[in-house]
Symmetry: C2
Subunit: 248 residues, 2 copies
């Protein structure tokens, strides 16, 4: 979708413009992150990714919020920072675009898994263990793709995951809750149902991880449950028991 929008907008966007990308995901065919898509469709413009723990309703009501503006172009990141900052809305710059974007995309997948654990009634201990594993796999994939581990442990990684994977305000978490309560993936993914970005990201993330030889147990379980290859119970059993009697 971003590719189509950006492609159509291209003629109207000046060469000096800075593109600020707030959407998260991994393009299904190319496995590209969103800033890459924007760069390809609008070559020559500086691109900034905006990401971090930011429920829209709280931003709209001026609750304190802190996010990240990431770009390989430091000047562009600083201009975006200046443009979006307010006393309640704090924007930090980062040059690790891949880390920031992967955090934003993968946290939706982990949020589905966390929601499913909660929806299945397995409690907060299990959800915490699952989210911990989820962040570990986010960091592993990030590092393999050249991101900095600390970016995944920052606002746009851990921070956003924390928000998304523990709160029914998140669409992805709610989607997972419904799965955990027994609704079928087919029904939840039907046209017209509430959109869960993570449901689309899971499969692309697994293919992206395979290109660098990294395993994503949480994303893979989500992918298989959504494909109808695995029940929620079997997925939970796999994820919470993967290394029995093992070292942490």
């Amino acid at each position: 979708v971003l590719r189509q929008v950006a492609g159509r907008a291209a003629p109207a966007v000046g060469k000096g413009a800075i593109l600020v990308v707030a959407t998260k995901g991994i393009e299904r065919d190319s496995l590209a992150i969103m800033t890459r898509v924007a760069e390809e469709e609008l070559p020559g413009r500086a691109v900034v990714a905006l990401s971090g723990p930011s429920f829209a309703a709280e931003v709209a009501t001026h609750q304190p919020t802190a996010i990240v503006a990431a770009s390989t172009d430091a000047t562009a990141a600083e201009r975006a920072q200046l443009a979006f900052s307010s006393p309640e809305f704090r924007v930090y710059t980062n040059d690790d675009v891949v880390g920031v974007e992967l955090g934003g995309a993968l946290k939706n997948v982990v949020a589905i898994a966390a929601g499913a654990v909660a929806g299945r009634g397995l409690g907060e201990n299990a959800r915490a263990a699952l989210v911990t594993r989820g962040l570990a796999e986010m960091a592993r994939l990030g590092e393999a793709l050249g991101a900095r581990r600390e970016t995944l442990m920052g606002l746009s990684g851990l921070g956003d995951l924390l928000l998304t994977a523990t709160s029914p305000t998140s669409r992805n978490y709610r989607f997972g809750q419904e799965l955990g309560r027994g609704r079928s993936p087919r029904e939840l993914l039907a046209p017209g149902a509430a959109l869960s970005e993570g449901a689309f990201t899971a499969e692309a993330a697994c293919r992206l991880a395979a290109t660098v030889g990294v395993e994503l147990p949480v994303a893979d379980a989500v992918r298989r449950v959504l494909a109808g290859d695995l029940t929620v119970d079997a997925a939970v059993e796999l994820l919470l028991a993967r290394r029995p009697a093992a070292r942490e």
Copy 2:
């Protein structure tokens, strides 16, 4: 307290016994972690720290739970693992005792701060930003004291923090909520009030951090609020605005 109990129990504890320490904290005078205290009072016995995201009520009802048994003595860690493991209660070993214990102790302090943000009505975005900073300072202190960063990002660090700093089931979080709602530290710390371990840990953690030249902005803010040196509003302002217009 652990020192007194351990000291009194010493004569009854055989030399081959393994001590399993489940309490969290930093001793006020010596700044020692709890396994150190146990080792000093019961010299010659193997000591294991047990820590991780585990609300007692869920463990008691056999909800899935995953925690860590940490010891410098691998055999002792494995024996504790074997003794406590069940299909629903998974125990992973780790040799990074300092990392595991610091995570368990410091997460209570961050949970107070997170509870205060929530109690003050500042929303989930702000709480996520605060907890992200909290984990970063936990990892900084851990590394300075010889712990592995990944331990702080594991079950006994991030996992336990995630649980404790987002759920009113945690005493420390509830203590923070009350602070945020305007109750005075004096009242909350009065004899007979509900115990918050983090309220005691905050000050010791700051002194411990000073010995290795590390700053703990979150713990220091909690310490100052509890000492009556800072209001909750001023603390939040400090914590969420510490690096305005900065890099992440």
